[in-house]
């Protein structure tokens, strides 16, 4: 039987260790220095993360304000030679890749988590679950090169034409099929789903596991099937976990940089066709910084996009984490 320890984290109830009072050490100069060091000392390394976050904001803001581009920033036109630095296009592109990836990874993640907690025997889940979590560890360049070399022909020759042919009546999937050699939205969404999947699966799985056994058993004792207990008891109980899985998965997909840069093709336009070329904020920032060397206008244009990206991922991550503080968090320390 698994003895789960009582909620040990974030209890915040344990009092911080008291620093030695000046009278408890010898009232010498060295003693007083030590006392002050003990009071202030802990703050120094603890403030490093805060300093870095502040530093990020300061750096991006100072770069964004370097050149006077504010007038063109809030638009849907990105054309550096014409001094137009609108990030709107890339925001749409980021959403077009991240939202479908989120939906897909939530659907599959929900299914995997349910299967793992409710339907599969222990001897299978013991190795299947870590296997899915391993998906999170693969570096995004590796995903990118695999997809670029191995998958783009499949998307170009099979997947895209099939969808275009069979689902062409859906707005955005019809019209003339743009030829992109397999790069673009479909393959990017696929890879982002794979990258967000371990996060959603892990969080939903953990939140389902934290449903008290009594609730499960009382539901089953009343004659409900496992599915009915899930639907009426366990999932509503873990709705916060599911919501946070969605938020954190979205944050991952929205901020993903390198794999998307390799697979999206890229064009600073809002695509008229699902198979056409577009670009995301993170991918643009990554692939165009080289072009911004020694060019303060270009750097400003990229930095203000960075602020938008940082702000959105910040909000999403803070909301997402708020919802999981009650879970056994060491699992997700790595997320």
């Amino acid at each position: 039987m698994n003895a789960t320890p009582p909620s040990p984290i974030g209890s915040g109830v344990a009092q911080p260790l008291p620093p030695p009072t000046p009278s408890s050490v010898a009232p010498t100069f060295g003693g007083r220095v030590r006392a002050i060091a003990y009071r202030i000392g802990p703050f120094v390394p603890a403030l490093v993360p805060l300093a870095v976050v502040v530093g990020i904001v300061v750096a991006l803001v100072s770069a964004a304000l370097q050149a006077n581009i504010l007038s063109s920033v809030f638009s849907f036109h990105w054309n550096p030679p014409a001094n137009q630095w609108g990030f709107g296009v890339f925001l749409v592109g980021s959403l077009l890749t991240a939202v479908p990836a989120l939906v897909l990874s939530m659907a599959v993640g929900l299914g995997l988590a349910i299967a793992s907690t409710t339907y599969l025997p222990r001897f299978l889940t013991v190795w299947l679950d870590p296997f899915v979590d391993l998906l999170a560890g693969i570096p995004s360049v590796v995903y990118g090169i695999w997809a670029y070399v191995n998958l783009t022909p499949y998307f170009a020759n099979d997947f895209n034409p099939w969808i275009h042919g069979h689902l062409g009546f859906v707005p955005g999937l019809g019209g003339k099929l743009p030829s992109t050699g397999g790069t673009g939205l479909p393959i990017s969404i696929f890879i982002l789903t794979l990258m967000a999947l371990p996060i959603t699966t892990l969080l939903i799985r953990d939140s389902l596991r934290s449903v008290p056994k009594d609730l499960w058993e009382s539901g089953l004792a009343l004659g409900a099937t496992r599915w009915e207990v899930l639907r009426h008891v366990a999932l509503p109980y873990s709705s916060r976990g599911v919501l946070s899985a969605g938020l954190l998965g979205f944050g991952r997909a929205f901020g993903e940089t390198v794999a998307v840069a390799m697979l999206i093709g890229g064009a600073a336009v809002i695509p008229t066709s699902f198979f056409g070329a577009t670009d995301t904020i993170a991918a643009t920032m990554f692939s165009l910084l080289d072009s911004a060397r020694n060019n303060s206008h270009f750097l400003s244009g990229l930095a203000d996009m960075g602020l938008v990206l940082f702000a959105i991922t910040l909000v999403v991550n803070i909301l997402g984490r708020r919802l999981v503080t009650s879970l056994y968090a060491s699992e997700i320390a790595g997320l």
Binding site: P16, L17, L50, G255, A333
Partner: protein, 306 residues
């Protein structure tokens, strides 16, 4: 009187043969449940097939071309000589891990043990914010702050420091978690026996939390070794092992990024696959280590409560 009312109010029991047959509705419910029980696990196949395909494809592309010569050659003008990138990646990781672990561990301990509650919450939130920041944003911070403002240029040191800031929050959070999850009875026993702050941290807390701390370091390494953006944006390409802190550097993820679409003539795409293969192995190994340690650690923590 009451018994008569109850007996007359309750419906007559159905005959025996009805009780042994399942009603249609029940059959549908249990059938649906079984169907789901077979369908959902199939999703595992859907989810895991791509990663198997990935590992297989990269191995097939890389392994036949790898040899001891390729892995150790430090010839600066050869097309396929991975000695320099491997050693440089090693060095970058060593330095960045040292910085991230040092700052992260100290910060985590300070937050868990010494900071007042509100300050601790603010610091924890900022660590979460930093962990959630996209790698390209941290890369921009490194570029603007270190390459431009500090004037280090596109250099080894700029890359290492930027990467260490990217890895920092993972160590920070794990150490923080490790120390806050030390069972209260043990903490109070130590303090009650007269342990001072440093004695508690060094002699009681660290030995208990040590596996978790090590785990955090390995986790940060697993994440750091696979990162491209923080390093690519702050360094420029080099062909020798770093000779000074301002040197150009070459490392595995950058080679993949620059060569993934290279043509046949240059023979560089093979190099990209070789680097991808090496990275994959390192990352998978580190992830397995992390998982093993955390599983053993959880058992140990449970043991502490008995």
């Amino acid at each position: 009187m009451a018994a008569a009312t109850v007996r007359s109010a309750s419906p007559a029991l159905p005959p025996d043969d009805v009780l042994t047959r399942s009603s249609g509705r029940l059959r549908w419910r249990t059938g649906f449940d079984s169907a789901i029980g077979w369908l959902l696990p199939l999703l595992f196949v859907v989810a895991l097939y791509p990663i198997l395909e990935l590992v297989y494809y990269i191995s097939v592309q890389a392994v036949p071309t790898l040899s001891w010569t390729v892995l150790t050659s430090t010839n600066p003008v050869a097309v396929d000589a991975l000695g320099v990138p491997i050693i440089t990646t090693f060095e970058i990781m060593a330095l960045a891990t040292a910085i991230a672990s040092g700052l992260g561990a100290l910060g985590g301990i300070a937050t868990a043990e010494f900071l007042p509650d509100q300050a601790a919450e603010v610091v924890r939130a900022s660590a979460n914010m930093l962990a959630g920041a996209p790698s390209v944003v941290v890369g921009y911070f490194g570029y603007i702050a270190f390459v431009l403002y500090f004037g280090w240029g596109l250099s080894y040191i700029a890359g290492v420091v930027t990467l260490s800031f990217f890895m920092l929050p993972y160590v920070f959070r794990t150490v923080d978690l490790a120390f806050t999850s030390i069972p209260r009875p043990i903490r109070e026993a130590a303090l009650g026996s007269g342990a001072g702050p440093s004695q508690y941290v060094l002699r009681v807390g660290t030995p208990i939390a040590f596996p978790q701390i090590l785990n955090g370091i390995f986790l940060a390494m697993a994440i750091g070794v696979g990162e491209t953006a923080p390093l690519v944006l702050t360094t420029t390409h080099g062909v020798l092992v770093p000779q000074s802190i301002y040197s150009p550097v070459s490392f595995l993820t950058a080679l993949i990024w620059s060569d993934f679409d290279a043509g046949k003539v240059s023979g560089l795409q093979v190099v990209a696959f070789q680097c991808a293969f090496l990275l994959m192995i390192v990352v998978i190994a580190l992830n397995i280590v992390v998982r093993v340690i955390s599983a053993r650690y959880r058992k140990r923590l449970e043991g502490l409560y008995q």
